[in-house]
């Protein structure tokens, strides 16, 4: 099987953020992560593109992303003191949206750092 090779890939498992990983992947999963440490290998190899999770859940029941987004927006909007929390295992681009959303919401904003 022909594997796609990605050079200089970046590992986001821990704070070291190594950017010299070579990934060998097919369409559904990564088979090799050259240059990654034990933790990094586990991180890269454990993901697949298979849809193992529902697109969204509302009260534990499957829902569409659009429905879930609307419910989320309603709840955050109605709240008097919403909290936006986490932002560790995600991209800067998402983090910027989170900060913008917290600003708009008039809510609390916090990351793992404060633990």
């Amino acid at each position: 099987m022909d594997l796609k090779v990605i050079d200089h890939a970046t590992c986001t498992f821990c704070g070291c953020v190594c950017d010299d990983i070579q990934l060998h992947a097919d369409d559904t999963r990564i088979h090799k992560a050259k240059g990654a440490c034990v933790l990094g290998k586990a991180w890269f190899l454990n993901h697949t593109t298979e849809r193992n999770c529902p697109a969204a859940l509302i009260d534990g029941k499957e829902a569409t992303v659009e429905e879930a987004i609307q419910v989320a927006a309603d709840l955050l909007y109605e709240a008097d003191m919403p909290l936006v929390y986490g932002m560790s295992n995600t991209t800067c681009e998402a983090q910027r949206e989170c900060v913008a959303m917290a600003d708009l919401l008039g809510g609390l904003l916090d990351s793992h750092t404060s633990l």
């Binding site: 709240a79 008097d80 003191m81 919403p82 919401l105 008039g106 809510g107």
Partner: protein
């Protein structure tokens, strides 16, 4: 006198920096009712949460469990705030005068960065009593804080002047990076008392576990103990100073800084 009774427990913290003698003394009853508080992100009127009696007075009395009501008496310079119940965070923060009395417990940052005035808590207080806010180099600069019960961590952090008396046991880091002033611990403290202190005095009436960077420098009865005892007697609390009763073991430090602070531990004879 103005009386405010909490009629509804806030669902999220209620920020009430407008409830100070300086502000309310100028307001009629209607104006007080209409004054703005922040319930989380929303502006609300005082009368949504409080029943308001009285007007145009710098004596305020609050009733109810106010543990979620923050910034009461903030920056006050005159008058009295009496709370019959618990008070929330930042009570009397940055106050410069007047008196606050709480017949209950107080939250964190009680008298944070205060400059003057008096605070008396009959119950416990939270963390960072009389402390500096994050990043700020100086905490309390004057006035006095009496807490009958226990106090939380970092009590008197970076304080420069003034007096803090803890009737109950204090938690860790009492007088952290202290620059001056006096802290009296009637029931002692947990660990790291006086850590990184530069100047100032911490007195404990019971034995204390000290940082390894403090050095013993004699036992004596400092003159100021006498003066302080006189001042405290007027406020209804005692400090031993008579040579016949005992003496103070003096430790100086923190040598890590290196600092010239002192920790005095009372040793009764």
């Amino acid at each position: 006198m103005i009386t405010l009774r909490l009629i509804q427990q806030p669902a999220v913290p209620l920020e009430a920096e407008c409830l100070t003698p300086d502000r309310l003394v100028e307001l009629t009853n209607d104006q007080i009712r209409a004054a703005v508080l922040y319930h989380g992100k929303r502006q609300v009127r005082v009368d949504e949460f409080f029943q308001v009696d009285g007007e145009l007075s710098d004596a305020i009395e609050l009733h109810g469990d106010l543990s979620r009501v923050r910034h009461l008496g903030r920056q006050m310079s005159r008058g009295t705030v009496t709370i019959r119940g618990d008070a929330g965070m930042h009570l009397g923060a940055q106050m410069s005068g007047g008196k606050i009395e709480v017949f209950g417990n107080a939250g964190d940052w009680l008298g944070g960065e205060m400059r003057g005035g008096r605070v008396h808590i009959h119950g416990r207080a939270g963390q960072q009593v009389g402390a500096a806010y994050r990043g700020s180099l100086v905490g309390m600069r004057g006035g006095s804080i009496f807490v009958d019960g226990a106090v939380g961590i970092e009590t008197g952090m970076r304080m420069k002047r003034g007096l803090i008396v803890a009737g109950g046991r204090a938690s860790d880091f009492v007088g952290l990076q202290m620059k001056g002033g006096t802290i009296l611990l009637r029931q002692g403290a947990e660990i790291r008392t006086g850590a990184w202190m530069q100047r100032g005095t911490i007195i404990s009436l019971v034995d204390l576990q000290l940082m390894p960077t403090f050095a013993y420098s004699g036992t004596y009865n400092p003159t100021f103990a006498n003066v302080l005892a006189g001042r405290l007697a007027k406020l209804g609390t005692e400090l031993p100073f008579d040579v016949s009763e005992g003496g103070y073991d003096r430790y100086c430090g923190d040598r890590a800084v290196p600092g010239k602070g002192e920790v005095l531990i009372w040793k009764p004879t």
